[in-house]
Symmetry: C2
Subunit: 229 residues, 2 copies
DNA sequence: TCAAAAGTGTTAACCATACACCCATGC
DNA sequence: GCATGGGTGTATGGTTAACACTTTTGA
């Protein structure tokens, strides 16, 4: 069932950089390739774009197929199109990055048909294709964007202690933050609502859990508020 | 000379949003289509990506071919891939935005083979395809990015008075700026070098001209400086 | 001499930073 | 009772925002 065109066309794929946050470490979900080029190497989940789906849809579909992840934060990152990024033929890839609440998705990764695993972002194996460059671009984007958009919450569970949020920001901003100043600033924005729950099973005083109020963020944004950390 | 593939492939194009700044107005360069879909409508310059060129190269080539512009600031914007953005068939387009010093390129536009013209960004005609959406995305990106990267200078001539720079920022930030505070801040960064020239042919006191020192910016950036306005 | 824009400093409010101790809990 | 992190306030310095008049030049 061949398809013929008057001019040659590059193949079009999507690749996804899936970030998670766990115990103070930023992690990325990788998949071990079983097919020909770079077989056995780790790679970003991804695949070909079908003609009857948008590229966003293709990214979500591939993620669901290869990692079981659905209903997650997903955003287009950049399109990679150097001539020989794929040794077989010309392939242009639209890269996405995704943020997942690791708590909800921990077991899935290792037990799937395709071998998938979480890697700490500063301990990444050699990757297939130009995926190291894609990952690098995604990391820079994430680290830049957490400052001015409240996307960090996508990496935390529904309810979280402030210290966890602070750790996340310390990793992203690559600098230690003062506990009191951090609390003042983040609580002062009025985007977090206190729950009546506290941490469970910790060997010290349990911290109060908070929830991000995205309704409220939308309201404030309309009124000219801008998130900044 | 047909090309055949096992699976169907979308066509891949680039489209460019070219910004210029003139007499206090932000402008965009558009081209009148002569070919079939949307013939006679205004559109962004762009075209198909060849197999032997990167997408960046394709964008520069199309710009040169259709508008004569070369050696300009060009950056990838976003990739647009909804299923029926082109009525003929599936076409995915990687959009770029470009910043040009309008002074240098004024005459070219109207005299070329293809009809090209500069339009004020808030007086844009009905555009072909989804080019209105692309333009909108580019505008948001530009307005966001001028705050934290010194790209505004790409829109001004080599030597410019501070008032012109201020007008540019007023348009991009969509708010009036205080003249004294603006000068203090921008001069305080140490990125502008005073020339010994002044405006010519103005019907009032001529303003001193400044030049952006991008060498110095690169140095400062390495030392942790970050541009902010 | 008038019009039009250039150029120039000070003050007050606000915001960001630095900093240290007591508290609650589980072991 | 001790180790571990949770939780809290103040003082200071720096940054930003508001604000008006004089100067230069060409018409």
């Amino acid at each position: 069932m061949p398809f013929t065109y008057e001019y040659p066309r590059p193949a079009l794929t999507v690749d996804c950089v899936v970030f998670g946050f766990d115990e103070g470490d930023l992690k990325v979900l990788l998949i071990e390739r079983d097919l020909k080029p770079f077989a056995g190497r780790w790679a970003l989940p991804g695949g070909f774009v079908n003609l009857d789906e948008t590229i966003d849809t293709a990214a979500r579909r591939e993620l669901a197929e290869e990692t079981g992840l659905t209903e997650i934060y997903l955003e287009q990152l950049y399109t990679f199109g150097t001539v020989d990024r794929d040794p077989r033929e010309r392939v242009v890839s639209v890269a996405y990055y995704a943020l997942v609440k690791l708590e909800d998705h921990r077991p899935r990764a290792a037990t799937d048909a395709r071998k998938a695993a979480w890697f700490n972002v500063d301990d990444i194996p050699s990757l297939a294709f130009d995926h190291a460059e894609i990952l690098d671009t995604a990391l820079r984007r994430l680290k830049g964007k957490v400052r001015y958009e409240p996307i960090g919450f996508e990496l935390l569970p529904e309810k979280f202690p402030l210290s966890q949020l602070q750790h996340l920001y310390e990793v992203c901003l690559e600098e230690p933050l003062d506990k009191r100043n951090f609390r003042k600033k983040i609580l002062g924005m009025g985007l977090l609502t206190e729950t009546d729950e506290v941490q469970q099973d910790v060997a010290h005083r349990a911290a109060r859990l908070y929830r991000f109020d995205s309704r409220r963020y939308q309201q404030l944004k309309k009124r000219g508020f801008s998130f900044w950390l």
